[in-house]
């Protein structure tokens, strides 16, 4: 089986894209699959738009080309739209319904983007939308939204449930382990409900 997947994780600096990338990388190690990636470090992290490229099963360069991401995980709804041109035809977009309004909107008095409008613009990509904050809070901490999103996307990534769960266990802080595992499970359940079964791992 060829197991390659170009995965793009996008969000806002501080939302935990780097931890998410490390979890995917660790799961790849556990399965003996090569992996490459590239991410945003430095000042761009200060509340700016950030992207993390992960190429599961690749031994080549670290960057995903525009129009070729098999899966995009967006930790923020607006960022899902900003990076949607990276999605390959037939690729899967898993997006958090939560949206952080950019400060530029308020300081420069631009109209506040409405959630419904962003969802409507994303519709062409047939996204799997996840109410991550609610699931994270139910799991015990709003800070676990990144792991909720990983759980939801885990259905579309060619890595086993066991490896992903085990990678989460290895990489999150110990005192947050329970919440993160619940977050992962809650996210996976929500991902299963969004009606993209045809694209799920093993089904295609």
């Amino acid at each position: 089986m060829t197991r390659t997947c170009d995965l793009l994780i996008v969000g806002v600096g501080g939302q935990g894209t780097i931890l998410a990338s490390n979890i995917i990388g660790e799961a790849c190690l556990l399965e003996g699959v090569p992996v490459r990636g590239s991410e945003t470090h430095g000042m761009a992290q200060r509340g700016g738009s950030v992207e993390s490229h992960i190429r599961i099963g690749s031994s080549h360069g670290p960057l995903i080309a525009v129009g070729s991401a098999d899966v995009i995980i967006a930790f923020d709804l607006l960022e899902a739209l900003r990076y949607s041109h990276y999605l390959a035809p037939g690729g899967t977009l898993v997006a958090n319904l939560g949206m952080v309004i950019p400060t530029s909107v308020f300081s420069q008095d631009h109209p506040v983007p409405a959630r419904d409008e962003v969802v409507a613009r994303l519709a062409i990509n047939d996204p799997c939308l996840i109410e991550a904050e609610g699931i994270a809070r139910a799991a015990g901490s709003a800070l676990t939204q990144n792991v909720v999103m990983l759980g939801a996307a885990s259905l579309f990534i060619p890595l086993s449930y066991e490896s992903m769960r085990s990678a989460v266990t290895r990489l999150v802080p110990e005192k947050m382990l329970g919440a993160n595992i619940s977050a992962f499970e809650g996210g996976r359940e929500a991902g299963g409900r969004c009606g993209h079964t045809a694209r799920m791992q093993g089904a295609g």
């Binding site: 991410e39 000042m43 080549h60 360069g61 995903i64 080309a65 129009g67 400060t103 983007p113 990489l171």
Partner: protein
Amino acid sequence: MLRAQTQLPYTLPHSSSYILCHLQQTALFLTLWTYRDGNYHLDGAPTLTSQDFTMERRYLLGNEAIAHGCREVPVDFVTGYPGTPSSEVIDTLRATECGDMYIEWSVNEKVALENALAAAWCGLRALCTMKHVGLNVAADPLMTSAYTGVTGSLVVMSADDPFAHSSQNEQDSRIYAEIAQLPCLDPSSVQEAHDMVISASALSLELGLPVLFRPTTRICHAKGDVLLGAPKKDPRKGEFHRDPRQYVVIPAHTRVLHKKLLAKQPLVKKLLVEKGFNRYSLAGTTAVVTSGVTASYVDELLPPGVSLMKVGGYPIDETWLAHFLDQHEKVVVIEELAPVVEGAVREEAGEVIVHGKKDGFVPREGELTPEAVAAILEKVGIPPTRRFSPRSPVGGLPPRPPILCAGCMHRSVFSAIRKVFKDGIYPSDIGCYTLGLQLGAVDTTICMGASITIGSGIAHTHDGRDIVCTIGDSTFLHTGIQGLLNAVYNGASMTVVILDNRTTAMTGHQPNPGSGVTACGDLTPQISLDLLCRACGVAFVETVDPYDVPALIEALSEAKRRKGVRVIIARQPCVITARKSGIRRGTYMVDAERCTGCGVCLRFGCPAMERAGEKAIISVQCSGCGVCAQLCPTGAIILGVAGR
């Protein structure tokens, strides 16, 4: 020595997977290593014996992989000045290696390089890290270090930043190597970065020359599954052997040293080919010549039947290069930044057709991507193995640039400066506070320390407007002091605001002489910026709390009334370090009854401040600085949750 409780900015280690060399690993293993004399060898790295065979594979950031390579050498002596994308090498090492290595954050790159050079003169294995523009600061010792050479080893890591993701320019460190006549290694992947830093140290030892090591952003901040060797412990003690003909570069000595350096060049070129840094495969009459991370894109896209040359070391052996070119009719050189490889290829090309940057086939600026490389191949008539569908980003989205944090003291200072010095000129500097551009309070930024010197330069032109410079504490200590001294000495009239958050925030909160701790967490005298400025001859030096808006306005107003060089030190810890050290100032809220929706607080630009309908609200991001409460004209912003 006392060891302080410091928080290292980098959480390590990642959990790791130990995987023995089974079939798949062995395949990769054999592409990197050659077997001879009963052992595996890698590019001049120490010989592996069977006991080293429990190798470890981990998913690491390029800079973490480089740091791990340093453990395997093992390097004894590490210096550097933080700069994106280089900073995580030292941050990784200082998290675990302070007992075994000497590690310092130096005050600037010149200082860092001279310290490391001294260690390498004393026989130690030294590493000095910086970003590409830091190499400009360190260029003075670099040029002559090639003449003196080293007795131990010295690897100078200068991280280049194509596309200027976090930099003021797109210069190419390889050109420095050419000017200095030093070998330069140029990795194309995270694995190669790890292997090459080990090789660079060995090469430096073998040649008696410093070696420049130049990863780029897409190596330093790329990630990959990396096969690591075992860290080694090999405590060494330095010893300086007096040798004035080597270390005192008076004209009589330096002329001889230059001749010796020139005489080494043929050996350097030969070794870089022999050790496999420069290599090629032959197939057909068309060839691609590439280097750095671009090689990984080419590797994925190159169809069969095309020759490939990969350059990983400079200088390139001309005879070897000419021999390769002679076997082809057409060559395309694909590299990032300056046309360094292309220049060498064109010199040896003769009748061979060469495409590259100089004839517009490859872009001269920015970084290359898989799409860009595919387009270049297509243009020269090589069909890429993958084609990418051009899709444009959607329009009409509000931008989300990086922004000063909620509660960042810089925002308060910029707001006060604009209030007091309405028609002022605002030279600024390199740091988080360059984001003050968004607040209309940054008029110039060119390089480290240049706020004060650009300010004094403008002051001497008789422009007549007030000049207010902003510079961070770390940047002031890096190269700001000389500018201040010069401004006072030459009678400039200007105000300098030192934004003193007691850390090097932008690059990940590395300590500096104002922090009171070293890179390894040892307590050290906390430098007094006030006394330092007074010693430079500044008569008016005021320290203020930037969260106290009336006091800040008063200090700036007093500075405005005076002549000569005036210094205001605005001091508050960086909000990120404050939060990590347990400071909780509480949070503010808006009393909706009193809020008139005037928008003063929203225009302040704090990310915690949002609009809901006609009124302002404060989000959970609030860190409790209280500045907005002092700005609100109706007193509608009040403390919601008290601090503790």
